[in-house]
Amino acid sequence: MPSGVEMSMELKEQSRSGEDVFIERFEDLIGPNTNGSESEWTLNRRNAIQVFAQNGFPNKKSESYKYTPVTKWLQSQLKNGMHTAAGSSVQSGNLKNEALPTPLLDESEVRGEPSSLENMKGLHVHATNGLIRGSLSEALPTGLIICSFKQALVDHPKLLSEYLTKAVVLERDPFAALASAFAEDGILIFVPAGLEVEKAIVIHHDALFSNSLIQARLLVVAEEGTKVNVIEHFPFLDAGSSFENRVAEVFAGKGARVDHVLVMERNDQTLFVNSLFVHQDANSFFRTNTVTLGGGLVRHNLNFLPDAEECETHLHGLYVAKGTAHVDNHTLVDHAKPNCFSNEIFKGIVTNQAVGVFNGKVLVRQDAQKTNAYQSSKCIVLDRGARTYAKPELEIYADDVKCSHGATTGELDEDALFYLRARGIHPDAAKLMLLEAFAKDIIGLIDFDEVRNYLYQRLHGLLTVTK
């Protein structure tokens, strides 16, 4: 194996593609399949790397990454000596003679300000590099499982083989395939039939290495008639230019209600790819609110498959992109069955030289009669240097459906600003009021006071310095 230095030289010479680096690394990590008695999970991982090898990273011709140069970012991070071997597991860092990733001096240093989300009522899970760290904050309700995949492999092997990799569509996104291959562990949340989990499950994601690559997995299984709230927080980390690539799979069983919130606040050198794949059974309700307030290049791939009748799917999203940040929300709602409802509302504020991208695809298959699918994307551009791209795509094969989409991009409403100023309010304060009002629509849809208040505070801070 080449050392980190050789590896980057080779990349510069372009004698090998970025893909090869990962494929070789994977072989190093897993080794050859010699005895043929590997676990289903390992076989899945081998399959994932094969799919990745076939498709490769997105290139200039890849329509779905047209506005978002993830590959370019990743390659420059590799050139600058990002540690590909850090993987999802600390132990795999000392492969061969590659330099170890730089540990951040201590845990308190890597974390930003302790967020008030730490104090909210809930079942708190702390995860480092995608792995559960320490024990859970309190005893879980009977039947609820929150554990690592490795633990699940021992205690609940059937669960993993029944659900893992069953929602993710590896062919759809190379990053999802990559994370599925590399993640050596993951977090499993299992809610057994009929259980309504009263407290929110709050996952605090941090990382302990700077300039490292993290590939992580999350699997949420909510069986029939359950209720569960999952809140994920990726707080600001002073962790250099890291690449976090994670794939999350969610199964909402019959009549289940699953509510998800993701708050992304990493530093401006972080490359973050979040792939969410949701599978919904009959009469289920799924809602996600994806709030992006930080990160350098952030790509959310949000995929929904309401795979039975009477499903309800809500996609809410808010992003604030400043500096040179680039935030892309890429959504797909695949209506396969009749009588389902989906509603998508994204709002963005971009300023400085930042870029905001929204791509919303709604696919209504021939069987999916009586589908109601709505989509709206609104973006406020505060600076001439900032850019936005919005691409709604409706692909409808059924003939009895209601679908609509709307995408608007514009500056702050001059008349509204004037009205506030005519009442003596300073221009900066007036702008802030209007921006907060704009964002409130999305944040207001979150059920938890603590999360809403935290986000209002963060937003206030972010927008106060956004001129």
Partner: protein
């Protein structure tokens, strides 16, 4: 209090001249009404005085309490004590009335060297002033003007006027779209706010408002200029005869 001399204003976008040498002097405590046919420049005058973008002052001066008003930004004018009641109040979804009023009142008070109001005092003030124009106090938790009826919007303008206690208030067609009861409420509110230190400029199409808010002076604005000034009787005469006779008279003079 306010002195406008030879004011010429064009629309920035296409250079169309709207005000063509307007002169007007409003003393402390006086109520002036400006009437005039459509397109005569009434609303432009209101907008220019309030500092709205999109207009270019090509000539003339406006002195407000001795200062050059045109040098000030819209928000500075408001803090100096100038108030515009909008003809079409803007809806601000997501901005609550209470936050809006708090920000406005405190900005104005701070600038005028007054003490900041406590939340309790502010609430009390809101309650009192809302009663003045028969507005439901529950509106404080609603978004500014969102879902307000036409009449509520206009009463909300007068409510804000009462909260901000300006020296000079411009009412831009506040009577338009009001039924007779709402008109009376608005007028009562304004009359209550009249004082020797506060002047009003009422911009209106109809004499009706002036039955309730009796002006000291009535001006006729035509083609960008004030062509006639009189007492409150002038409004009645206009109501009776329309504007054509003035047109004839002024062309004869010219």
């Amino acid at each position: 209090m306010l002195e406008i001399k030879n004011l010429h204003v064009s629309i920035e976008e296409d250079g169309t001249e709207i005000l063509k040498g307007l002169n007007l002097k409003v003393g402390s405590g006086e109520v002036h009404a400006i009437m005039g046919p459509n397109g005569s420049g009434k609303s432009t005058l209101a907008s220019v005085l309030a500092g709205k973008d999109g207009y270019e002052v090509t000539n003339g001066t406006v002195a407000f309490c001795g200062d050059d008003l045109l040098e000030l930004a819209a928000d500075e004018r408001a803090r100096e004590g100038l108030f515009l009641a909008f003809q079409y109040p803007i809806e601000l979804p997501g901005v609550s009335m209470s936050n809006f009023l708090k920000q406005a009142v405190q900005s104005v008070r701070e600038h005028q060297g007054k003490e900041a109001l406590t939340s309790g005092a502010l609430l009390q003030m809101m309650k009192e002033k809302a009663a003045l124009v028969h507005l439901d106090p529950a509106l404080k938790s609603r978004s500014v003007n969102e879902g307000f009826s036409g009449g509520e919007k206009k009463r909300n303008e007068i409510f804000q006027l009462a909260m901000l206690e300006p020296k000079f208030a411009i009412l831009d067609e506040t009577d338009s779209g009001l039924d007779i009861d709402a008109l009376r409420i608005v007028a009562d509110g304004v009359n209550h706010l009249r004082s020797p230190e506060r002047s009003f400029l009422l911009i209106t199409h109809y004499q009706r408002l002036l039955d309730y808010i009796v002006p000291d002076f009535v001006h006729v604005l035509m083609n960008g200029r004030i062509v006639m000034t009189g007492g409150k009787e002038l409004a009645l005469e206009l109501e009776e005869k329309g504007y054509d006779w003035i047109k004839d008279e002024t062309t004869q003079l010219a």
